[in-house]
Symmetry: C2
Subunit: 327 residues, 2 copies
């Protein structure tokens, strides 16, 4: 298991820079007043494919050598990673095989197909996903790109915080949501790299996760990777991007950094999500609302003067909004 | 009637620059491919108060002399102009009196009050609005800021296109929606000013408006300001920001420039609105979707290589989206 180094962040960023959007930062007086400090949002919902995942996909796919690339790339995904790999492969001009559960939202399947990828359906279980992917790779010799337990992916995700720190060098804290840990561990590396190069005090990285999927929190306490409880699996969090367990590589990086993880309720996630929609006029996924909820719930000490939040993505089913649901 | 000059655009921009957001530009490969040319969106939905109207309000309110300012400012508005004036007055530290129809959306009333303004309710007719405003001004001696028939407001709105042209100097065309004509006429002045200073070919300005509120189109043909027809008033366009007649000052500027106005159907407005929500992950009002609809309907010749669209605002009732309506 190869742990990526902070010193590799710059090199990766240079590789992918011209293929990704340099996403804008937004802020609002109302949010600043509510929290009592300056909050800056890094809008990866405006990234290509609508999520930061495109950064990791680019860094994992674009530099592939011809001998590997010629067989294409493969992954399993019901979410943004599949779209990201499909688009990165399209740019590289190589095949992409995306294993998707047969009950995945049509709009996501169409998006993946729209980038020219081949979709292979499987039953909606983790086991079926992994077996189907294995079969696909056996048949095609395609290169597997794991959504987060992959050094190149992590270094690609690091570019979001890296850009962010250059845009707002005064940041003392960046909060990210945590699912598999790719963005979180990448952000830790980016803060270390920025600190080493710019000789500024290091920017702290804190993660936020739903109480209803607090596996990362429990993993940090127990010192080993934990899964969702049966109750959490039966009543999944609305933040569907954060239901996964931590990857091994991210867990190593997060453990080494003693990263603090704060947990928030489902109610506060929906409230924070709607607040951002209304005040910032932008569409964010429930997962992105988790750090905002942590701030609004005052779960993070207001001693930081400049706080960054990475808004991870905006791919939402507009016909099925949480505040329009019956009951 | 004082017609503002292109040469005043720079001076106005300098006055308001530090109070407004320098809004970002977004683009998308998918939209570019659909239209067959490069489309750039200037995101005034991320402006303070969620709309470009804040620019005009700042330019009309902030420079007021103490002797005038001490009595405060007043306007009537059911939409973004009221919020914009309220916030500009808050910054200036003077009273604001906003006449609003008693059936205005609660969220808009609350927003105006949130900026510290006094809300005066009236019956929801044009006559009642004007009479109530007259009474308010009689009692308070407040300075009236018209939403578009005001040189300072127009020069403030000009700053959006002015910034836009500096961000993307290659723009050959900017499309704006047209209601009262403040943004449109301001954009014409900004293009003239940019042309004069930068010595580049002048950027063309075209306006888009709903067929169901094509009064500006008819005004340009007839050579005098036209109103909505009875049928158009009875079945109002979804683009509620564009239901007003042209102002006198905007009409002078637009007529002099021989501005082309293209009209689009209600259906195409809703489709374009949802398209932008889905592809750009941002919230735009129906009014902003009108230029996008004109592009998607191929009503504008695709000979322009770089086309800008000013996304005017994002204040939408999230509980009442047009594609969630029954029927």
């Amino acid at each position: 298991m190869q742990i990526p180094k902070a010193s590799e962040v710059v090199k990766s960023y240079k590789k992918i820079k011209s293929f990704i959007h340099h996403t804008p930062i937004l802020n609002s007086t109302d949010l600043n007043e509510k929290i009592g400090t300056k909050i800056w949002l890094k809008c990866e919902n405006f990234q290509k494919v609508g999520a930061f995942k495109f950064r990791g996909a680019c860094n994992a796919v674009l530099p592939l050598e011809a001998s590997v690339a010629k067989n294409g790339v493969a992954t399993h995904s019901s979410g943004n990673h599949g779209q990201a790999i499909a688009k990165a492969a399209q740019i590289k001009g190589i095949p992409a095989y995306i294993v998707m559960p047969e009950n995945a939202p049509k709009v996501k399947i169409q998006a993946v197909k729209g980038y020219g990828a081949k979709v292979i359906y499987c039953e909606p279980t983790q086991l079926a996903r992994e077996q189907t992917l294995k079969d696909v790779i056996h048949q095609t010799n395609a290169h597997f790109v794991h959504p987060y337990d992959n050094s190149d992916v992590i270094l690609g995700q690091a570019s979001a915080a890296w850009e962010f720190l250059h845009q707002i060098p005064e940041l003392e804290l960046i909060i990210t949501p945590v699912g598999g840990g790719g963005l979180l561990s990448g952000s830790i590396l980016a803060a270390e790299a920025f600190h080493a190069i710019q000789k500024r005090p290091i920017c702290k990285i804190i993660a936020a996760e739903p109480e209803q999927a607090n596996d990362a929190y429990r993993s940090m306490i127990s010192g080993s990777i934990q899964s969702l409880t049966n109750e959490q699996t039966a009543n999944p969090t609305i933040a569907d991007g954060l239901r996964t367990n931590l990857g091994n590589i991210p867990f190593q990086i997060i453990s080494r950094a003693h990263t603090q993880i704060v947990c928030v309720s489902e109610e506060s996630i929906v409230q924070a999500m709607k607040y951002i929609w209304e005040r910032f006029n932008m569409i964010i996924e429930a997962s992105c609302a988790v750090p905002i909820a942590a701030l609004l719930e005052k779960k993070i000490a207001p001693t930081f003067k400049n706080v960054g939040v990475i808004i991870t993505g905006g791919n939402v089913d507009l016909d099925n909004l949480p505040w329009n649901k019956a009951g």
